[in-house]
Amino acid sequence: MCDTIESAFVAISRLASGSEATHNVDSVLFPDGGLRPGELIEISGDSNSGKSLLCLELIARIILPTSCGGLELGAVLIDCENSYSKTVLLSILEKHILNHAEPALASTLTDPHLLETIQRAALSRLHLITCYSLEQFEFSLLALPVLFVRQPELTFVLIDSIATFYWTKCTAKNLIRQDTYQKAHCKTLSRLAGKWKKIVLFTKPSHFGGRQASGRDFEANSAAGALSLDGSTQASSFAGQLTPSMSTASSAVSLIDHRIELTEIDNPSPGGSEQGSADQRFSAFITMADKQQYVRFYLIDKYGINWIEA
């Protein structure tokens, strides 16, 4: 299947040199040009704010052909939360194809068969790695270079989420703070991204890695408020002995190039518990590497994320 035969050394140098191109993945999220190889992007948000969905949206734009507004590149999704849904991705792909197809192509899209062919071709550029344990996850990161060599068009790595296996790592005998855990992963991912010239995005719950880390992570009932406080003080006092704490938060920040924070906007709806639920609105707060910050708003419907034009 290869047109040329090259030595392993040449292949690896070719891959590692990469192109310095910026990839214009999403003009709504990243209006000033795109993402550069080697960058690390964090997507954080509360439960059900659309982090996994945003990953699928970005994947759609990556894998679709350029005739449909995509980058026609490969992506690998490391799914630790069983959140990948083929049906949802197919809906998103359909939406993108219909919205962004070139005029020449758009006129032929009344044929559903053609739509399916484009979807199938796009899916062939997506690779999925499911991890059900911390060990599997760590090994999967080690296995990525092999995948990079086999699939040279693969440019994006998405991880959902990096917090999944934290409580496997943090045991009574081996306490580790959430931000330490995250920083260790960010370091590995940043190194991987830089060495292989890939763009890495990861999701995490917004409460993960914060100052008062473990508070409220576990409660048997409402009276366990006291329990959770004890949990957090114990963890943080132990951490004092773990690492000389030069503010870990800021060093983690330097590893991450861009941040996207998703939040639900509380809608005090007049109708209360009416059947016709008012559409839940969300905001995405984006912080770029050059300190630019801006906000975007969106709804979630059955075709994925629907950006609200300002």
Binding site: W167, A224, Q280
Partner: protein, 329 residues
């Protein structure tokens, strides 16, 4: 989940002798072996460089998550959704029922019909010959009689024999410790407890808080959270690899005044789900059950089922379900 130990059966080149030498240098787990530089391994094991690379690559390949192309994953063709036996609920779930491979959670205050709904689902699943439902009971709420009533109340009457077979396809296990629960789920994921010729289609766990209440007075929440992680990971593996729909039962807890530290996701009636913030994003879909006002003069009770959170359904959608003696309608 302890890291896997390095043993001789992992690769023909890893002989007992090599393992002993590695252990002397404190390399006991597979991961530590793979992370160490090849040069160092050369010195420790005296194996040739190609062999070391070969073994490393083999181990990485074996222990990493399966990498699949999205075209062929998940299963082709997709297994059909499991009807819950309640038409309005099937419509709410958009595919016509519970999706195999997905994890659902029924959440609500006591007495909102969670157990009954799960029994209805189980009964409906076992109507199909060859389909098995596994019910893990932690509260001794399972009632065989209820299942029989539900099966009996079907429009298409089952014969005595069919009824007997259907009831035999509902496996009930009483479990009272979180460790045993995790172990059972792992065994189910490995294919145990399922008879020849039947497929496990539905797993119900009723309920989770009753097991994790054991940790209520614990000093730290590290252990219960570790077990919850283990549980959800094993459930995801079971669901994905065996095409099983999983239904968990959880409670909602009332907000106590003054507990504002750390924002929790509140459901429409102001409660939040038990088991803590970590568990909020564990199930793929969380359905909230609430009591609906009585319709005067009717013996049936009405409950609403609302989508609280989901990664494929629209949150906020709800239906009203009628609970009768013979299950939900």
């Amino acid at each position: 989940m302890a890291a896997t130990q390095l043993t001789a059966d992992l690769h023909p080149l890893l002989t007992e002798y090599v393992i002993k030498k590695l252990q002397k240098n404190r390399l006991t787990t597979v991961y530590s072996f793979v992370k160490v530089e090849a040069e160092q391994l050369l010195k420790i094991t005296n194996l040739p460089a190609e062999s070391i690379v070969l073994v490393k690559n083999h181990l990485i390949d074996q222990f990493a998550g399966r990498c699949q192309n999205a075209q062929s994953y998940p299963w082709q063709p997709a297994p059909s959704p499991l009807s819950t036996g309640v038409p309005s609920l099937d419509a709410l779930l958009q595919g016509g029922g519970l999706l195999p491979g997905h994890i659902y959670e029924l959440c609500g205050e006591s007495g909102t019909g969670k157990t009954l709904l799960s029994l209805t689902m189980a009964s409906n699943v076992v109507k199909q010959p060859g389909s098995m439902a596994y019910f893990i009971d932690t509260k001794c709420d399972f009632s065989g009689r209820k299942v029989q009533q539900i099966l009996d109340s079907d429009d298409r009457k089952l014969s005595e024999q069919e009824l007997g077979h259907a009831m035999a396809r509902v496996r009930v296990e009483r479990i009272f410790s979180p460790d045993l629960l995790v172990q059972t789920v792992e065994e189910l994921a490995a294919g145990r407890y399922v008879d020849e010729g039947t497929n496990l289609k539905l797993l119900i766990i009723d309920s989770l808080p009753s097991l994790w209440y054991l940790y209520q007075d614990a000093q730290s929440s590290v252990e219960p959270l570790g077990l919850l992680t283990k549980l959800i990971c094993s459930l995801r593996k079971l669901a994905a690899q065996r095409a099983v729909a999983v239904v968990l039962i959880n409670l909602t807890v009332r907000v106590v005044e003054g507990m504002t530290e750390g924002k929790r996701k509140l459901c429409p009636n102001g409660n939040y789900s038990a088991l803590g913030r970590y568990w909020e994003s564990a199930p793929g879909t969380r359905l909230l059950l609430e009591r609906h006002e009585h319709h005067a003069g009717s013996s049936a009770r009405y409950h609403t089922v609302q989508v609280w959170k989901s990664n494929y359904l629209r949150s906020g959608e709800r239906v009203i379900v009628r609970m009768t003696e013979s299950g939900d309608r």
